[in-house]
């Protein structure tokens, strides 16, 4: 049913051969923790992002999924240089921007834009919509043909808002409309890459689709590459041609849409997919595997040694604690499908003979019920 991989898209890259726009190598962000006596010093670090490799091709949409604390938002902020990386390298269009100064960043800054999660707090309530959208142009000294104001009206129309609302304030708009304003602001500088951090998760279900469709239109018609960060696996699947799955600051699996959703190898990817509650429209969608992990994600201050997922993994062995599995194309994977696991799962999401239930309370209750 979902083997339709090639999409009739005029611009998006169809395969991995597309020109690389952004590449990230060994990206690391550790937030220091201070403490101690009598003089405060660094006593530890939150290892929010720890050695992430990622590429985004020109016009490509890459999804970044994972649960809270996995470092996906931090990764987005590192790429847009809202945060300074601790280590690693960020290359944009062949230029190393890892530690670029303000001045060096200036030309790049306008090409990489960000859309934020909360449409309420990310727009200045004291500015009109017009001012919000035009200020990136003014800051960057860009004067489009026909004037700034004309361009703003064009953008408003493009994102599906009434150009007449130029002088209104954000509070006069609904959540979905505000997110459109955020999209218009991001588009005002003709970016080549948009980092969208949970752009629809604060919106009502019926509104989410409006914004997803708008972003998709922007991506396809304007050829803008996206790094789409979200926790909703179904939305990411809908939006992204390639995906990276993160767990505790590391990418555990990366591949094209079909590989990740239909042929996942990493146990965490299996667990994540099996946890998604799906509306059963017919009986056939019900035979998916059932995996219930136990507990929550461990603290990124003291992540487990070796494979970080091992403490919640049903396949973990001694090796997992001692050596960290590299992110490689393991046997049975298609090209460009990389998995960081010593003991990968079979590439299927179909129901197993026995459910995997690691949660002790669930296991006890289910045993009792039998």
């Amino acid at each position: 049913m979902s083997d339709k991989l090639t999409l009739p898209k005029p611009q998006g890259p169809v395969d991995g051969a597309a020109e690389t726009l952004l590449s990230v190598e060994g990206l690391t962000k550790h937030f220091p923790i201070y403490g101690g006596f009598p003089i405060k010093r660094k006593v530890g670090a939150v290892q929010a992002v720890d050695g992430v490799d990622l590429t985004v091709g020109v016009g490509e949409s890459v999804g970044l999924v994972g649960e809270s604390g996995c470092g996906k938002s931090t990764t987005g902020r590192l790429i847009t240089r809202l945060l300074e990386p601790t280590a690693g390298k960020v290359t944009y269009a062949g230029q190393d921007i890892t530690h670029a100064s303000r001045r060096q960043m200036a030309p790049v800054r306008s090409e990489i834009q960000m859309i934020f999660q909360d449409p309420y707090s990310s727009l200045n309530p004291r500015q009109t919509v017009g001012t919000i959208i035009k200020s990136p142009m003014e800051v960057n000294g860009i004067n489009p043909k026909g004037g700034v104001e004309n361009r703003v009206r064009e953008l408003l129309e493009l994102v599906g808002l009434n150009p007449e609302h130029y002088n209104r304030f954000p509070h006069e708009f609904s959540g979905g409309q505000r997110q459109r304003i955020g999209v218009a602001r991001a588009l005002s500088l003709n970016p080549k890459l948009i980092v969208a951090d949970e752009p629809v998760s604060a919106l009502d279900v019926s509104i989410q689709a409006q914004v997803v469709n708008l972003l998709q239109k922007v991506q396809e018609e304007m050829g803008i590459a996206f790094l789409f960060i979200a926790h909703d696996l179904a939305i990411v699947r809908h939006f992204s041609q390639r995906l990276a799955v993160m767990y505790l600051g590391k990418v555990v699996e990366v591949g094209d849409r079909d590989s990740i959703y239909n042929r996942p190898r990493h146990p965490y990817t299996h667990a994540l997919l099996s946890a998604v509650p799906e509306v059963a429209l017919d009986d056939e969608t019900e035979d998916r595997e059932r995996i219930r992990l136990s507990g929550d994600v461990p603290s990124p201050i003291h992540p487990p040694s070796g494979c970080r997922f091992r403490t919640r993994c049903w396949k973990a062995q001694d090796k997992c604690a001692t050596s960290e599995p590299p992110l490689v194309q393991i046997s049975g994977n298609r090209e460009n499908h990389l998995t960081a696991c010593h003991f990968p799962e079979d590439p299927t999401t179909e129901a197993r003979d026995a459910d995997i239930v690691l949660d002790p309370a669930l296991a006890a209750l289910e045993k009792e019920g039998e």
């Binding site: 339709k4 649960e67 609904s174 409309q177 279900v205 809908h238 929550d296």
Partner: protein, 353 residues
């Protein structure tokens, strides 16, 4: 379950009638801008031991309804009309004292965000044990034992030690487990869960949902499960109520409503939501416009300004006449039954991939 549970006789089925029955409930809030009709003529039943799912977006009135059932609305700004009958007892007119005896005892509630729903100032154990002491008259020691037993049941490791912890020392998933332990400690007949997993991560959500289902088997409670997520509801509920603008627009068993939905709003919800098994080449079909204002709800059918099928109804009934929700399976829509079924099969279903 060894200590101090209610006797079995108390939960013997009292005939086929509904355990909770809400009739023509209307809740209005007076605000500075005018009267907000948060709930506007809502009726539903919950059967013993069954789960009723209520699905709707923000402002649909789903949370207000359930706060009203427990009498937790603000009596100074809200006016409540209609009937709420729980196990033969009228609740709209009940006194505060009568409601106090009911809350946490016969009817318990789980809230969305366990971080803000638990007091940061008291230990988790104390907060769990409190309602047990209040409702059963148990001693502090008995209540502590019972609370530890409940913590163990919901899967908190080392429950005796964690009893003394404060909520901020718990992870998000553990806090929600503690909330569940608190709600079930008096063995309630009805559990109201208001978006209990919305604040949680997807793998934790899956654990909590299964836990709730398994505990329901054991405790035999009826559940009202409120959510905006159709996927979650399809896993949890037996019956389903779709709410829009303070009213129920569709009702039926989960299977009926999700596999053969009849209301254009339900169609819209289904087709605006991508699915893991869906066709990615197929664009999502959003519901146009925004949810209605509750201060000034649209005339007639509240969904008509966003509905794509009003032209199929003769005259201007959609904007002029409020469609009634039939008892039992059905939708509050002016389309006739044949239209509902053909439009879904021909126009909506193919888009769901």
């Amino acid at each position: 379950m060894t200590t101090l549970t209610k006797t079995e006789g108390e939960r013997a089925p009292s005939g086929p009638e509904a355990f909770l029955s809400v009739r023509d409930l209307r809740v209005r809030f007076s605000t500075e801008d005018g009267i907000v009709k948060a709930v506007d003529g809502l009726s539903f039943d919950v059967e013993r031991g069954k789960t009723l799912g209520i699905v709707g977006e923000s402002g649909s009135g789903k949370s207000v309804t359930n706060l009203t059932v427990l009498g937790l609305h603000n009596p100074k700004t809200a006016t409540v009309e209609g009937e709420i009958v729980l196990d033969g007892k009228e609740l709209v007119t009940a006194t505060e004292k009568e409601m106090e005896k009911l809350r946490g005892n016969k009817v318990a509630m789980i809230f969305q965000d366990p971080l803000t729903a638990l007091s940061p100032y008291y230990t988790v154990g104390r907060q769990i044990a409190e309602p047990f002491m209040k409702h059963t008259g148990a001693s502090k020691k008995e209540a502590k034992l019972r609370a530890i037993e409940m913590l163990d049941k919901v899967g908190i490791p080392q429950p005796a030690m964690r009893f003394e912890d404060y909520p901020h020392q718990f992870s998000g998933g553990m806090r929600q487990r503690a909330m569940i332990a608190m709600s079930l400690i008096c063995n309630p007949d009805l559990l109201i869960a208001d978006e209990p997993t919305t604040a949680l991560d997807v793998t934790v959500q899956a654990q909590i949902l299964d836990l709730l289902k398994d505990l329901q088997q054991e405790f035999g409670s009826a559940i009202i499960f409120i959510t905006h997520d159709l996927g979650v509801i399809s896993k949890m509920a037996d019956d389903l109520l779709v709410m829009y603008s303070g009213r129920a627009v569709e009702r039926g068993s989960v299977r009926e409503v999700l596999r053969a939905p009849q209301h254009p709003y339900t169609w819209g919800l289904l087709s605006s939501m991508p699915r893991l098994g869906g066709d990615t080449a197929q664009a999502l079909t959003p519901i146009p416009g925004s949810p209605p204002s509750l201060l000034n709800p649209p005339s007639g059918c509240p969904f008509h300004p966003r509905c794509g099928f009003t032209s199929e109804v003769s005259g201007n009934r959609c904007s002029g006449e409020r469609p009634e929700l039939p008892a039992g399976r059905g939708a509050a829509c002016h389309l006739d039954d044949a239209q509902k079924s053909t439009f879904f099969i021909e126009q909506i279903k193919p888009r769901l991939g």
